[in-house]
């Protein structure tokens, strides 16, 4: 559709008014981000006097330079990347296999097991956190990478999404492949899995974002600074606000922590929009 196309039944004035409202709402949404970005580009001593100075120069990249001179930040960034990627790969693998099983295989108790998985959607993380903490403690998994990403692999939504997606693929494709002499594994790998790529992309992006932004579990599990993820590391700097290098530096850290996420949004925005509009499961 061209940019000048008018929705049916709406006058040009109504369309323009609607557009103006959308622009205002978008500005309101983006204002805190711009504020953070602006503060990150100001010298700390200037911000101590007046944060209003953000609206005029001089601007500096000194805060970003300070980040790059701190080795811990890169360690946290690496930790976040590793944990998020492991969680994402694990969720995609497990959800795809479980989804295929629930959608295609006949086995005793299938419906009950699926209902149990769905029940997992209703269990808040807070209710299991103490038990999980004790279990991970007993298994000596705290302050380890598996300790950080293993809880994220329990993804009932992923299993549900992939089950529904596999169900939507005509079973005749499986049958045609079986008649073509393919094994069950080959049917899954060569025929069905490629057809679930839109759902995989959606699930992968949301899992990555959720894992990257996770704060609570890394805060509990990672007690040593070198095992902090970026969210916990940045927050630890903010908690010790009095000892930090200042507001501009904190804001630069926040921008630095958000940059990978923003990149993911920009690159995969098509899939994200499709997912939130429900198109991915059709």
């Amino acid at each position: 559709m061209s940019g000048s196309a008018q929705p049916v039944g709406r006058s040009p004035w109504e369309a323009r008014a609607g557009f103006a409202v959308m622009v205002v709402l978008a500005l309101i949404m983006v204002l805190p981000l711009l504020w953070t970005l602006g503060l990150s580009l100001k010298a700390n001593n200037e911000l101590l006097r007046d944060t209003g100075s953000v609206f005029h120069g001089p601007y500096t990249l000194e805060n970003y330079g300070s980040i790059l001179r701190r080795a811990a930040v890169f360690r946290w960034l690496g930790n976040s990347l590793l944990v998020s990627l492991c969680t994402t790969l694990g969720v995609l693998t497990l959800s795809s296999l479980a989804g295929y099983g629930f959608a295609r295989l006949e086995f005793p108790g299938r419906r009950w097991l699926f209902a149990l998985v769905l029940f997992g959607l209703a269990v808040p993380e807070q209710s299991v956190i103490i038990t999980r903490h004790q279990m991970f403690s007993a298994l000596h998994l705290h302050n380890t990478y598996p300790g950080l990403f293993l809880p994220g692999l329990s993804a009932p939504f992923g299993v549900f999404l992939m089950t529904q997606y596999f169900k939507a693929i005509p079973v005749e494709l499986d049958e045609a492949a079986l008649l073509d002499g393919a094994s069950r594994l080959r049917v899954f790998w060569s025929v069905l899995l490629p057809l679930t790529l839109p759902a995989q992309a959606t699930l992968g992006i949301f899992t990555f974002l959720s894992s990257w932004n996770d704060y609570w579990w890394p805060l509990i599990s990672a007690t040593r600074s070198e095992m902090f993820t970026l969210t916990v590391g940045v927050a630890s700097s903010q908690i010790n606000f009095a000892q930090t290098s200042g507001l501009g530096f904190l804001m630069a850290q926040a921008v630095f922590a958000s940059a990978p996420i923003l990149a993911v949004y920009v690159v995969f925005q098509k899939y994200i929009v499709r997912a939130v509009s429900g198109a991915a499961v059709r």
């Binding site: 005509p170 005749e172 049958e175 045609a176 079986l178 008649l179 073509d180 002499g181 393919a182």
Partner: protein, 364 residues
Amino acid sequence: MARVRLDRLSKRFGAVPVLDDISLDIAAGEFVAFLGPSGCGKSTLLRMIAGLESVDAGQIHIGDRRVDQLPPGGRGVAMVFQHYALYPHMTIFENMAFGLRNAKVAKAEIEARVAEAARILEIERFLPSKPGQLSGGQRQRVAIGRAIVKKPDLFLFDEPLSNLDAALRLRTRLELAQLRRRLDATMILVTHDQVEAMTLADRIVVMSDRRIQQIGTPMEIYARPANRFVATFVGSPPMAFLDVTLNVGADGLARAALADGAGVQTAMPLADLPSSPTWRLGVRPEAAKVVAPGTGLVDAKIAFVERLGDRTLVHLRLADGGALTAEDAGTSRAAMDDIVGLAIDGPVHLFDAEDNAHHPRAPT
């Protein structure tokens, strides 16, 4: 090409019986159509032969091998699905080559076989395309091509024409008949369309109510239906039935008398017929003619007229409430509510109280 033998096959879905004691022998190179209404079990039977449904009882033999315990890929069959079932993410070439790659056929051989099938089906230019870029008819050709390249012992077609529009269906039907001659393979077609079955098959297996009702050549099925179901299901418009009583006519042949006493001479010796409390006379439209009132067997009122161009179908209502369709010339001047005479000028069929048909002995 291989002989196919089905031996006392039965199938249940849970507590519901779907097929009951099905036995059938298909000669090598024969084209057989499973014909029947929806839910009669014909597709289930085809899927059992393909290995996509398990067999509860009985055996399936393809060639010299018993195959009912083998996986679908090990039976030497290829199937063309109703909805094509092409792999959407693969090109047409990859779709056709998929089965051969699974069978570890050499790359050069795969390319040669795909090229040959594509040439036969005139789909060479689509080989680099994806299925989504093709029309329904083109996809159907690809589905057939995917089956051809495997050089199977047995081809299975599950309502392959039902998704095509009328013109394309006619064309594809002709192409399928030509392809059959070229491939000289054993083929089974499942269809609910009697025209497909009549025009394509060497023999038709009419199925209903979980069982085989009749096996025969298209003309045997049409001219000598085994029972009232087959007589009704095969033929369009369907055979009409009139309640009659039997008495002896000329040369000892049975004479079927309508309620008002008018009689129709049949070709069945009365002595050859079993005793039955009731009888029905089956009349196909081409055996019933419209004549001037008072000059036919009985008079009837025209309930409806269907003008088909080359002929006219005249739906008649008899005085005793019986209904019957008669065929008239394309230029017929018959009109609704007219009173006309009904003449029987062609073979008629007799059905006993249990709906079994009785025909004169076939000429030897």
